[in-house]
């Protein structure tokens, strides 16, 4: 065989192959066209398209503009719960569609026949009368001229999915209702403290009327500074999967304060990771305030007990100390007498010393008396009292304290003052309190002059006793609380001194006032003179 022939043969063979391929292409196209061009064809043949059409797990249907179903696969029939295609083909889709979706479906059909695509969810009523959720994607089918002649819809049964979603929504709504109506604060918060969600009860706890003022904000805008560290700890615990709870105080939106107690738990996502902090918080303001009140009362009680104990102690101590003092004094005086009797006049120095011993025991005894009177509980017995004498007694009592701190006390008392009409011991108590406070104030401000001025003035039948220090004074913020019980700036104080003093002053028909001066403070005790007019 000649090579030319061989080449010819090969080319012919190749040509035949190409031709046969083209033929097959044509045949396929033809078949497809036949299929599509002839919608009325009911008897499917065993070709590829039909196989695909039938084997598709989802419903595929062809539908005319007016809703007539031209073709539908067996998956579609299954959705409709029938095995007979004759029941649906040639029938209107609207016959099996729940009425409430008709309008929307018509719009969709119109859109598709105008060349658009569409998607919608609707409910179907099967031939067995069940409602079923479907989801359909619709596209137009065009002929070779590009004219749209049918709607191709691929429809999926989403009944299960839909019902689950619906159930979820219902559950969510139910949960929301519960949370919304929950009397305690329920909130969700992220790791940084931003509030994701909060129920109305929570907003009410913060006195917020508008959720925008709270949701999206940080909890640290509300939690008082002293509790923030602990709250951060709580947040970190929860995000590590550990429940935690704490009590803290918040600043409300309206500027108030409120005690809260929160129980926080981790909120897990589907992967088991902590997605948020869920906290149930309740108002414990009433309880806390009661606790505080109780504590105050206990403190007051403890103070009274201390005073009582001190009183008993002082009384007992006074008695015990006076016995040896009595003996000392008497011995010393007897010694003087013996010296004199024996004519030992050269022992004058010894006698002087003995006299001093007697004087000192008398002084010691005076201090003990003062102390005992000071702590002794007694109802006020007003009497005419010379203010000079009263101040002398107090200054004698305060002398050790004064010397200890190296403070000078200047007393200015004009001559010819009327006598005061007060209870001696109680007035002493007030004055001692004022002087003690002043000494403490001086000690607490290193810049202060170590001077305390006490002056007395008579005005309108009243004596004004002013105690002035040159310390830092009392800040304007604290002044309104100055005479309030249990208000104190001293770590070991219980804040009863000034309030008690004012109470005593007023019970005696007097007053106790504070004046700010530069520098320092003036406490002015006003007491009545003479016998009060009845």
């Amino acid at each position: 065989m000649e090579p030319v022939n061989l080449a010819l043969l090969v080319s012919i063979f190749t040509g035949l192959l190409i031709l046969s391929w083209l033929w097959m292409q044509y045949r396929f196209k033809l078949k497809m066209r036949l299929l599509i061009d002839a919608p009325g064809t009911r008897h499917s043949r065993n070709d590829l398209f039909q196989t695909l059409f039938e084997a598709a797990p989802e419903c595929i249907k062809l539908q005319a503009e007016d809703g007539l179903i031209e073709q539908i696969n067996s998956a579609g029939l299954a959705i409709l719960e029938t095995s007979m295609s004759s029941k649906i083909i040639g029938q209107s889709i609207y016959g099996v569609m729940a009425a409430e979706y008709h309008t929307e479906y018509r719009h969709l059909t119109n859109r598709v026949f105008k060349g658009g695509t569409g998607f919608m969810e609707f409910e179907l009523v099967t031939f067995k009368g069940k409602r079923r959720w479907l989801e359909t994607h619709a596209v137009p089918l065009r002929d070779e001229h590009g004219k749209i002649y049918a709607l191709l819809a691929i429809t999926r049964d989403i009944d299960k999915h839909k019902r689950m979603t619906q159930q979820l929504v219902e559950q969510r709504n139910r949960l929301n209702t519960i949370i919304e109506s929950e009397p305690e604060c329920v909130k969700l918060q992220d790791q940084s403290g931003i509030i994701i969600e909060m129920n109305p009860a929570g907003l009410a706890l913060l006195s917020a009327t508008n959720p925008d003022g709270v949701i999206g904000h940080s909890v640290y805008e509300f939690i008082r500074e002293e509790y923030q560290q602990r709250y951060k700890e709580l947040t970190s615990n929860v995000f590590n999967g550990v429940r935690d709870n704490m009590e803290f105080e918040v600043n409300t939106v309206t500027g108030g304060r409120r005690w809260l107690e929160t129980h926080a738990a981790p909120l897990l996502d589907s992967n088991g990771r902590v997605s948020a902090l869920l906290a149930i918080t309740r108002d414990i303001d009433g309880r806390k305030k009661n606790e505080l009140k109780l504590r105050n009362q206990q403190q007051e009680l403890a103070h009274m007990c201390r005073l009582n104990t001190l009183g008993e102690l002082a009384s007992g101590l006074a008695h015990e100390l006076k016995q040896p003092l009595c003996a000392i004094s008497s011995y010393a005086e007897s010694a003087v007498m013996l010296n004199d009797a024996q004519g030992c006049h050269e022992n004058k120095k010894v006698n002087d010393i003995l006299h001093k011993i007697v004087e000192e025991t008398a002084r010691a005894s005076g201090i003990i008396n003062g102390l005992r009177d000071f702590v002794r509980k007694s109802s006020p017995v007003p009497q005419a009292i010379k203010i000079n004498g009263l101040l002398d007694e107090i200054l004698e009592l305060m002398e050790p304290e004064r010397r200890r701190w190296g403070i000078k006390i200047d007393v200015t008392i004009p001559a010819g003052l009327s006598a005061a009409w007060v209870d001696r011991v109680q007035t002493q108590q007030i004055m001692m309190n004022l002087i003690n406070n002043a000494i403490q104030a001086i000690n607490e401000s290193p810049q202060s002059k170590k001077l305390l001025e006490i002056s007395v003035l008579e005005k309108h039948d009243q004596l004004h006793i002013e105690v002035r220090d040159f310390a830092e004074g009392i800040s304007e913020l604290l002044r309104p609380h100055l005479f309030t019980s249990f208000f104190t700036t001293k770590p070991e104080g219980i804040g009863i001194g000034l309030s008690l003093s004012r109470g005593i002053a007023e019970a005696q028909g007097g007053q106790l006032n504070y004046q700010s001066v530069q520098p320092g403070s003036v406490f002015c005790l006003i007491i009545p003179c003479n016998i009060p007019r009845r």
Partner: protein, 204 residues
């Protein structure tokens, strides 16, 4: 019977000793007791002088002691001392007849002054008692008639008046008068009336 003594009663030993020192230093007699009961046990013999007692003591206290002494009619002045300085207690003591209430620590001078006053009061009462005793002894010595005459005599009536009232002769009255004066060891009726002035005469 021993002479005037200061009975010191105090439960505090040093106060007791200091007081003893003081009292002795001025040459007075003193006896110390550490409680009122110890003193009361011997109070029948120890009844001349005065008591210086603390108020607050174990056992019988100062106030009770004074009441007991009062009842026993010992005429023993009590000086009360206290380290408590309690005014109501002091008032109670003084109201009951304590000579004074002295607060501890006391000044020796004041204490001595009070002790002297108390001793003086005691002495006066003692002599009054003696005088009364002698008066009653004299009264015992009078006859019935003399006893009848005595009040009329003390009224200052003359022999004549008395004789007329008693329907006796003035001469007889004169004898009675002389006997009465003799028995009372006085020289005149004026002297007699001075003697019995404060004596509660229970004349029949």
């Amino acid at each position: 019977m021993i002479g005037q003594t200061v009975f010191i009663i105090d439960d505090d030993a040093s106060v007791r000793d200091a007081l003893f020192t003081l009292v002795e230093s001025v040459g007075l007699q003193a006896l110390c007791f550490n409680c009122a009961d110890d003193y009361l046990a011997q109070s029948t013999e120890l009844n001349c002088g005065c008591v210086v007692s603390d108020i607050c003591m174990p056992g019988t206290n100062g106030i009770q002691l004074q009441k007991i002494l009062e009842k026993k009619n010992t005429n023993l002045p009590v000086i009360a001392m206290s380290a408590h300085g309690d005014i109501p207690m002091a008032v109670e003591m003084v109201r009951q007849g304590a000579i004074d209430f002295i607060e501890k620590p006391f000044r020796n001078q004041l204490m001595l002054q009070r002790i002297y006053e108390a001793l003086e009061k005691n002495r006066q009462q003692q002599s009054l008692v003696q005088k009364n005793n002698s008066i009653s002894a004299c009264l015992q010595a009078l006859t019935r008639r003399e006893n009848d005459v005595l009040p009329l005599l003390l009224r200052g009536d003359s022999n004549k008046l008395i004789a007329r009232e008693m329907i006796l002769s003035p001469r007889t009255i004169e004898v009675h008068r002389a006997n009465i004066l003799k028995k009372f060891q006085v020289k005149s009726v004026t002297e007699l009336s001075m003697l019995v002035k404060n004596f509660p005469l229970t004349l029949t």
